[in-house]
């Protein structure tokens, strides 16, 4: 168990800056998830922490010890890889025990600990098999076993679930969380899947283009996204955005969504210029009331009682080319379409006109220049 600190860590591959100014503090026992779209530098950050890639600048410490130049074997960490990287020429037993053997533990002790780890992961019956003879889920557990048997001060995991099928992924997700809680080992977990991040993490680091966008608990990220990117990335589906005028009436700021006047909880002086970008989560939209803007439903996706309603952003309010909204599940959502998530027993049909209302206090305001949240 140890704290982990990145201080101004940089990484460039020639001209390409993979990581810029990465600064992060992870508490002992934290389950910290790096999340972001593919290619944003998550694996690179993790590999630098593991000592598998050299840093271009900055320092990395584990448990207060500067490990920036220490080899991977000298950092007291264990790692789980996306493709598991099990040693194909060794039995499961040797795979799990390899790290202990390299550290010069005696045979009896290795055996005891390997069997204890196997017990925990229900691998006891497979100890003498080769990885080739195991199912995907079992291989994944061997990879976990290889990590926990060493009782390291940190676990590093790089998309460990993405080679599993959907059902097994959900199940293993909670197994990993429980295991981590029980062992209390500081964990850094990399994923591109924001659902995994929200469900597993105690602390989330959202990254984009090698730059940290926001660090916070799942709740914070959901309720107070720091910028448009985080707002759109977190949540399923991600936040809706629209462009609107900023008007000040009686010292209070307000905007318009179609016909509806939307009061804002932001102090008027924070709003420069006559326009801003606004965000509203699909589950916060009120559908089918008597007030609000009438819209024609484009598409109704029904998941039983839960429904996702698609409708066009009001005339002239689409954020257009300002930025492609990076939805987590649907990369590059059409910015002229908004989504509402409703759970009720009403039937909605394509083409039907309903009223959409934005409740007060649920509207996020972003600076159109910097894309940062205003509050």
């Amino acid at each position: 168990m140890a704290t982990i600190d990145f201080k101004n860590v940089q990484k460039s591959y020639g001209e390409v800056h993979a990581i810029r100014d990465f600064t992060l503090h992870v508490e002992e026992g934290d389950f910290c998830v790096f999340v972001g779209p593919s290619g944003c530098g998550k694996s690179t950050a993790l590999k630098m922490l593991a000592g598998l890639e050299a840093t271009t600048g900055g320092t990395i410490s584990i448990g207060g010890r500067d490990v920036t130049d220490a080899g991977p074997g000298k950092r007291d960490i264990a790692m789980v890889f996306q493709n598991y990287a099990l040693y194909p020429h060794m039995s499961v037993r040797s795979n799990i025990g390899f790290g202990l053997k390299m550290r010069g533990q005696d045979k009896a002790e290795i055996n005891r600990r390997v069997e204890a780890a196997a017990e925990t992961l229900e691998l006891t019956d497979y100890l003498d098999r080769r990885p080739r003879a195991l199912s995907g889920g079992q291989r994944q557990r061997v990879a976990l076993g290889r990590a926990i048997v060493r009782e390291p001060s940190a676990f590093l995991m790089d998309e460990p679930l993405s080679n599993l099928d959907a059902k097994l992924r959900v199940q293993t997700r909670s197994e990993i969380v429980n295991l981590q809680k029980r062992l209390g080992v500081t964990t850094i977990y990399v994923t591109h899947d924001q659902v995994e991040a929200l469900t597993m993490a105690t602390k989330i680091v959202v990254m984009r283009g090698g730059v940290i966008q926001q660090i916070g608990s799942p709740e914070t990220l959901f309720a107070q996204p720091a910028n448009i990117f985080v707002a759109g990335f977190i949540g399923s589906p991600g936040m809706n955005f629209f462009r609107g005028p900023v008007e000040v009436v009686d010292g209070r700021a307000q905007t318009r969504f179609g016909e509806q006047v939307v009061p804002l909880s932001v102090a008027p002086d924070a709003l420069r210029g006559g326009e801003a970008i606004f965000g509203i989560r699909p589950e916060h939209l009120k559908i089918g009331g008597d007030t609000g803007t009438p819209v024609a439903l484009g598409l109704v996706e029904s998941l039983g009682t839960e429904k996702i309603l698609h409708f066009p952003t009001p005339e002239g309010q689409a954020i257009g080319s300002l930025q492609k909204v990076i939805g987590s599940d649907d990369a590059g959502r059409d910015s002229a379409t908004m989504l509402a998530r409703v759970i009720d027993d009403r039937r909605y049909t394509d083409g039907e006109t309903v009223r959409v209302a934005l409740p007060e206090g649920k509207v996020h305001v972003f600076d159109p220049e910097t894309q940062k949240a205003l509050s």
């Binding site: 991977p72 074997g73 493709n83 390299m102």
Partner: protein, 277 residues
């Protein structure tokens, strides 16, 4: 897959058997001649079956020629060349495959082109160099000269093979506490075993087959000859002694054919660099 007709199946077997028969006939003829009494070799029509096999020919060969010594020299040269090229080749191939090294691309290109050097050109400067180093007449001269061809070849083959092994494997080994060399030896090499076997086979076959270098550098003393030099000389000296020459050829061919039969299964895979896995 549609089912083949009986005629088609028969056609395939007939063609395969015919091809193999034609290809292997010279080898059969070598064995047959080696075992035939010398007088029979001057009969027309020739006999196609050894009705009176003469096993004594091998003993005669060992008694009248320093044949055992030539065999031993050949083995020494082939093993030394294989070990040297494989060691140097493994290290270089691994570095080229895994490390983004400055100049690595140029070296890769160089390795490819050096496979095309005419050996008869290299033999001249090498002769001059070995002469000044006093290496002419030493088996080492042949080992070194052969490495000019085999090291680039081994490096190229092994790099292709290492490229198919995911780098996470040695990342895992490093995290588990191996040194970089330890990760190579304990994890990468065992996984690359089929590629190593294929490369070793190549190195061994090429080296066992060498005639030019041995003929040029080792001629001075008969006790330093390799099998190929010995056989070529026998052919020149005893023009009619075909059973002795064939017996010598058979003994030179048997070890390398044995190695081939043992390692052939890795050949196709090694050539396509494990891509058909």
């Amino acid at each position: 897959m549609q089912k083949r007709s009986y005629l088609g199946t028969f056609g395939i077997y007939a063609t395969v058997i015919f091809t193999c028969a034609v290809l292997l006939f010279p080898i059969y003829w070598m064995i047959l001649t080696a075992l035939s009494p010398r007088t029979q070799l001057r009969e027309f029509p020739p006999r196609f079956w050894p009705d009176d096999p003469q096993w004594g020919v091998f003993a005669d060969l060992l008694a009248t020629q320093p044949f055992g010594l030539w065999m031993w020299n050949t083995i020494l040269v082939a093993v030394a060349t294989m070990v040297l090229s494989l060691t140097v080749g493994v290290l270089a191939a691994y570095a080229l495959s895994r490390h983004r090294l400055r100049g690595g691309q140029g070296l890769g290109l160089f390795i490819l082109t050096s496979k095309m050097l005419p050996a008869t050109l290299l033999v001249i400067p090498l002769f001059a160099i070995f002469k000044s180093l006093g290496l002419v007449g030493s088996l080492w001269s042949v080992v070194i000269a052969q490495s000019t061809l085999i090291v680039p070849f081994a490096t190229w083959m092994l790099k292709g093979y290492f490229d198919t092994i995911p780098p996470e494997l040695e990342h895992a080994a490093l995290v588990d506490g191996c040194s970089p060399l330890g990760a190579l030896v304990r994890v990468v090499l065992p996984v690359a075993a089929p590629g190593l076997a294929a490369t070793a086979l190549y190195a061994f076959v090429i080296s066992w087959s060498d005639f030019l270098y041995a003929r040029t550098f080792l001629t001075t003393s008969e006790s330093k000859w390799t099998l190929n030099v010995g056989i070529a000389t026998l052919k020149g000296e005893f023009v009619t002694d075909w059973n002795t020459i064939m017996a010598a050829s058979l003994m030179a061919a048997v070890p390398i054919i044995g190695v081939y039969l043992f390692l052939e299964r890795y050949l196709v895979g090694g050539l396509s660099s494990g891509s058909d896995k």
